[in-house]
């Protein structure tokens, strides 16, 4: 993200003041222990204060990432442990596996079906809630309610509603004379069903984040817009949207990361005993493939290779989104 007012010519962070560093040309006076300690304190303490985050990040973020890469270039059985170094063999096997491409497409499809409507609805909801409503807190809390429900419970309830034969949705379609939809068999229908679960759970949460951003928009901007003759819609498009762009970037990138890693919903939606995402992997995702390789077929090498490819994919999508949103903001008319 761009730092407002950041001037690239001057160093952004000045070094800690160094009063105790002896001038190189001065008479060599050995500083006492006290002074040296004080000097170290000034020099190193800041690092110590921020270190917990970085140490934790190294332990739970960087290390697993690097170790996964290490595992992915070896034969590595879940129980047998490390085998021979095989280079990129695991990656080749995964890419050659016909389910890889299929599950990759599924992942992207479910991600698009969930993230796009989610952000659109969340922004709209937030805009509605950003009005002087009666019982504001109640409305705001109620849209967060689905988020409190555990994804497993959501999957069980929705799995039931989307039952192919005796599910509520198909019974209702039957009443109005529409043929039952094979939610667990048809590829697109299953993606819609899963996206529905995701959207149900996350839309309210994102709406609240957008709402917080909208409330931080200075009200005088709206006043001037109104004086210039802008209607509500125009105000929303030309003032609100550009002003919440940084929040937009945040929400879209987090939902990209979450959307591409989707696992619990499709796995629990699947009713076959293998739980690989339908009989023909109609709704199997990449994370499910990772699980299948690692824990069902007990091959951590292939699982790690798949996980790394997923990581690259997520970075790619996040970068893509970032660029796209910056463009979008410019189209909104405000160039910052």
């Amino acid at each position: 993200m761009k730092v407002d007012g950041g001037d690239t010519d001057t160093p952004r962070m000045s070094p800690p003041s160094i009063p105790s560093t002896p001038a190189p040309s001065a008479v060599p006076v050995r500083p006492g222990l006290r002074q040296r300690l004080a000097a170290w304190d000034v020099r190193f303490s800041p690092y110590l204060y921020i270190s917990p985050f970085f140490v934790l990040f190294a332990v739970v973020g960087l290390f697993p990432l690097a170790y996964t890469a290490y595992v992915s270039v070896h034969d590595w059985s879940l129980l047998g442990g490390q085998g021979e170094f095989v280079g990129l063999e695991n990656y080749r096997e995964v890419v050659d596996n016909p389910y890889f491409v299929k599950q990759l497409v599924n992942t992207v499809s479910i991600f698009l079906l969930s993230s796009v409507p989610q952000v659109v609805i969340a922004v709209t909801l937030a805009a509605l809630l950003d009005n002087q409503l009666r019982g504001r807190t109640w409305w705001r809390m109620s849209i967060l309610l689905p988020f409190v429900v555990s994804p497993v419970a959501v999957a069980i309830i929705f799995g039931n509603l989307f039952g192919d034969r005796y599910g509520l949705f198909n019974e209702m379609l039957g009443v109005i004379g529409i043929d039952a939809i094979p939610w667990h068999t048809d590829r697109l229908a299953s993606h819609v069903a899963i996206a529905t679960m995701v959207n149900w759970r996350w839309t309210g949460y994102n709406a609240l984040i957008f709402l917080a951003a909208m409330q931080a928009v200075p009200r005088d901007l709206y006043e001037s817009a109104e004086l210039d003759g802008a209607g509500r819609v125009r105000q929303f498009l030309s003032v609100t949207l550009p002003m919440i762009r940084p929040t937009m970037v945040f929400v879209i990138i987090t939902s990209t990361i979450g959307g591409l890693q989707i696992f619990a919903e499709p796995r629990l939606f699947d009713e076959t005993t293998a739980r690989n995402g339908g009989s023909d992997r109609q709704f199997g995702t990449i994370t499910m493939l990772v699980y299948d390789f690692g824990w069902q077929l007990r091959d951590l090498g292939r699982a790690s290779a798949t996980a790394w490819m997923l990581f690259v994919l997520i970075c790619l999508f996040a970068a893509l989104n970032y660029v796209a949103i910056r463009r979008l903001g410019r189209l909104g008319g405000v160039d910052r």
Binding site: F44, V59, D164, Y166
Partner: protein, 427 residues
């Protein structure tokens, strides 16, 4: 500028040292957390089970009689959950219960990892189990890795009320006479679905294929563990099961799915292959439905589906005590009581003659003498399919291939070829 560079370098060094220190502290924290021996000298032995083993009463009984060793049960819903937990913790090298229950079909894979389990061989227990059951728990070096709990001899559960609707006989002896072979069973089914078109003949194609597979000597692998799925017997099972779909014999539902469970309440089907442990499942799913009965017959000879084993992982702290508890739980007297509780049919020779078994009947199944019927069904089992270490992985792919035809996503030929490719990709 020079100073600045130096100070950042030192900063990095400091950060590095700090990181290393904290890492060391963190790893030290994850160390030994001690055994489970209590201060007062009692040892707690944990037993991990799935589904229903019928052990609740037995454990209370043991705990009332013993002060030095207490048993604690850890229950999970299904074998799949238990399996995921088992493999994860086997890989981690810690965290498993003192005794872990293993589903029969997974035993070959467990035998392949025999080092991770305690050798339970005990001369005193020779002859406790049916020979073919004991064999399943014994590896090539003659070590017994698991103590068998139950077996799954299969009979046919059927809806007498729906049989009546179709004009078929309803008496269980008469019904048994009508389905001695698979051809007879399917022909009867075609007759049935003509008369009762909204009801299928059996509960699921996958369940039926499982029943038929358990009568094939080498379904997936040859005796030397070579994968050989492209064999005529397996193809015959596949063709028969998928061929029946068009005839309307199958519900076309995945076994254990929500729709499958609902179909018990909606007259979804008229018969199903029922191992002993399935009786409890039917009773639960069909709660309130009248007309269920249990016939002393199985098409194509006997068949065994499932049955479990108790193993003692080598990573445990209380190996000796665990061994003792596992031996006690799988003794004939105890398994007979477990049968009375949950219908798990004993694998112990002596238990088969005990009054708890021979005299057992079940009111839900029209007072069928289930003990006697299951004992007959167990005797009728002649074929024990060879199951190698890849059995359960291949079974999963096979079941998916049948489901693909069942749910209409593929034609049989296409699905079969995909199955062959899937097995190839298992590596």
């Amino acid at each position: 500028m020079h100073n600045l560079v130096r100070s950042t370098q030192r900063g990095r060094l400091a950060l590095g040292v700090l990181t290393a220190l904290l890492l060391a502290v963190l790893t030290a924290c994850g160390g030994d957390d001690g055994g489970s021996g209590d201060a007062d000298g009692t040892t707690t032995v944990t037993v991990a089970t799935f589904n229903e083993f019928g052990y609740e009463e037995l454990i209370s009984e043991w705990n009332a009689e013993h002060d030095d060793i207490k048993i604690e049960q850890v229950k999970v819903g299904t074998w799949d959950d238990a399996k995921a937990n088992l493999y994860t913790k086997l890989a981690a090298g810690s965290g498993l219960s003192d005794i872990e229950a293993i589903e029969g079909d997974a035993m070959p894979a467990i035998l392949a990892e025999a080092d991770a389990f305690v050798d339970l061989t005990d001369a005193e227990l020779d002859g406790r189990w049916l020979d073919w059951v004991a064999e399943k728990a014994t590896n090539s070096e003659g070590q017994m890795i698991g103590y068998a709990t139950d077996i799954g001899p299969e009979g046919i559960c059927y809806r007498a009320d729906l049989f009546k609707k179709a004009g078929l006989p309803t008496d269980r002896a008469e019904v048994a006479g009508l389905m001695g072979t698979w051809d007879e069973y399917f022909a009867l089914g075609e007759d049935f679905v003509k008369k009762v078109p909204d009801t299928a003949w059996y509960d699921s194609s996958v369940g039926l294929s499982q029943a038929m597979l358990n009568q094939v000597e080498n379904p997936f692998e040859t005796d030397d563990n070579t994968v050989a799925v492209d064999n005529p017997e397996l193809k015959a099972v596949f063709d028969t099961v998928t061929g029946n779909i068009a005839k309307g014999l199958s519900t076309r539902l995945p076994q254990w799915s929500d729709d499958w469970t609902s179909s018990f309440q909606n007259d979804g089907f008229a018969t199903m292959a029922c191992p002993g442990w399935m009786l409890g499942v039917v009773e639960g799913n069909a709660d309130g439905v009248k007309g269920w009965d249990f016939a002393d017959v199985f098409p194509g000879g006997g068949g065994n589906w499932g049955g479990s084993f108790l193993t003692v992982p080598a990573q445990g702290d209380n190996i000796e005590e665990a061994k003792q508890v596992a031996a006690w739980l799988t003794a004939p007297e105890q398994q007979a009581k477990a049968f009375a509780a949950k219908g798990t049919f004993p694998s112990q020779v002596e238990a088969l003659d005990s009054p708890e078994i021979t005299g057992a009947s079940n009111a839900f199944f029209n007072d069928a003498p289930i003990g006697e019927i299951l004992a007959n069904r167990a005797e009728a089992v002649t074929v024990q399919p060879y199951k190698g270490p890849k059995y359960s992985d291949i079974l999963q792919a096979f079941q998916a291939s049948i489901l693909r035809v069942d749910d209409g996503s593929q034609e049989p030929e296409e699905s079969w070829n995909q199955f062959l490719a899937d097995v190839e990709a298992l590596g």
